[in-house]
């Protein structure tokens, strides 16, 4: 499959760049850990564990934003996006490759952040972890496309959270629901639905974001 080979090559390029430069992952990791410590002081004694479960989602969304703001920085700084757009492959492959790379970053961060959360606050159910995984797909799909939009604007990093947060609210609802509800199945289903709807929309519309 030519398309998948393109996607894999693009994702591999991002991972290799990160391995060499190491500027995004350590920043995200430090950010999410600092946020968890801030939450300890933001939750007064008597605040129940459920509140912490909700705050975990605030930490995850903001950490993702931090990574997303840098997602297109290598292309922008190197002026490489024009080259990628002109390459003889489907333009949606650029989006899919970038989303896959961002997904790997986010999953690596959560590999540390979720155990840290369990250690600091309360243990997580399996459904909550599944919710995080499903929400990651939505965050990466939507976030990568919006980050490409933000990269094309004058205000860049400033505008990304404004574009992203209203779209992330349903993800937070699904995620918090899957961690605190007695019936997490509905929330996981909802997260899956969100992923499907927005992934298709992003896949179909990315071409218009990068081409003139």
């Amino acid at each position: 499959m030519n398309y998948l080979a393109d996607v894999a090559a693009l994702a591999r390029k991002d991972l290799r760049l990160e391995l060499r430069a190491r500027d995004t992952l350590p920043a995200m990791l430090l950010f999410v850990l600092s946020t968890l410590v801030v939450f300890h002081f933001a939750l007064p004694t008597g605040a129940d564990e459920v509140a912490a479960q909700g705050l975990l989602w605030v930490a995850l969304v903001f950490t993702a934003l931090l990574g997303l703001a840098r997602a297109w920085a290598p292309e922008r700084e190197g002026g490489a996006l024009e080259g990628l757009v002109l390459a003889p492959s489907d333009r949606s492959a650029i989006w899919l490759g970038k989303s896959a790379a961002v997904f790997v970053f986010l999953a690596l961060i959560e590999l540390v952040a979720l155990p840290a959360f369990a250690l600091f606050f309360s243990p997580l159910q399996a459904e909550a972890v599944l919710g995080v995984l499903l929400a990651n797909i939505g965050i990466c799909a939507v976030g990568t496309l919006l980050a490409a939009m933000a990269a094309a604007s004058r205000t860049r990093e400033l505008i990304l959270p404004l574009l992203f947060l209203p779209l992330a609210i349903p993800l937070v609802v699904g995620g918090v629901g899957s961690s605190v509800s007695t019936d997490p199945g509905r929330y996981l289903l909802f997260l899956g639905l969100y992923d499907a709807v927005f992934a298709i929309l992003c896949w179909a519309s990315f071409e218009y974001v990068v081409s003139e």
Partner: protein, 235 residues
């Protein structure tokens, strides 16, 4: 810019006629809402805002939908006049969205004693949409005018219509773990004359929105034409 200027499209009904029609309809709507429809036995006079709040909300949805439709046409056909139409529709939608928030807030104060209630799913949805579409303007005004801006705005506008049902479901789902609903939203059924008054108000508000859409479009096109002329003169 193409020579068959996209800024001089003509429509069947003139704007002054539309304005007169909307003014008459709004007058009629006020008469129907306040004098023809019977007073609600439960909520009294404060229920009258329902005749304006709900039509304004429905009109805002219609504007967002219309803006997304124009955005889709832009991406499909690449015709640049759709960009302005999409923008103006979303602009009107955001204005009507803000009005929905304002009237909803007044209604909440009148019937539940608080200016803001999270229990009202409609209001929460409009708050999310208001934030979403405010970001649309931030995005639009931070990009140079041109096909790039048109494309990005169109894609974002399309995201909006996907977000409406998804957010609606999300807010419904969140009821479960946010707090239980303390009052029911489905009150007594509307009587025939109430429903008729509601329909009159709905038509009136829709006409107002359409008139405003046409006026703004006219102004924006005039502005673009003027700029074009000025460029030709200075060249």
């Amino acid at each position: 810019m193409s020579t068959s200027s996209p800024n001089s499209r003509v429509s069947l009904v003139s704007v002054p006629a539309l304005a007169a029609l909307s003014a008459a309809l709004v007058g009629l709507a006020i008469v129907f809402a306040f004098w023809v429809a019977p007073e609600d036995a439960d909520q009294g006079i404060s229920q009258k805002i329902f005749y304006f709040h709900v039509p304004i909300a429905l009109t805002a949805y219609a504007c967002f939908g219309w803006g997304a439709w124009k955005a889709l046409r832009l991406l499909w056909k690449g015709d640049e006049h759709y960009d302005l139409e999409s923008y103006v529709a979303i602009h009107q939608g955001t204005i009507f969205g803000a009005l929905t928030l304002a009237t909803g807030s007044i209604w909440a104060k009148a019937s539940w004693g608080h200016w803001w209630v999270w229990d009202s799913n409609q209001l929460v949805l409009f708050l999310v949409l208001f934030l979403f579409y405010s970001a649309y303007f931030m995005l639009r005004f931070s990009i140079e005018e041109g096909p790039r801006r048109a494309n990005l705005s169109a894609v974002y506008a399309l995201f909006g219509v996907a977000l409406i049902p998804v957010s609606f479901f999300a807010i419904r789902l969140a009821e479960d773990f946010i707090h239980p609903t303390t009052f029911t939203r489905d009150g007594p059924q509307m009587t025939g004359s109430m429903f008729f008054a509601f329909c009159v108000c709905w038509i009136a508000i829709t006409m107002v929105a359409y008139t405003l859409y046409r006026v703004e479009l006219l102004g924006k096109r005039l502005d673009a034409n003027l700029r074009e002329l000025r460029e030709i003169l200075t060249a």
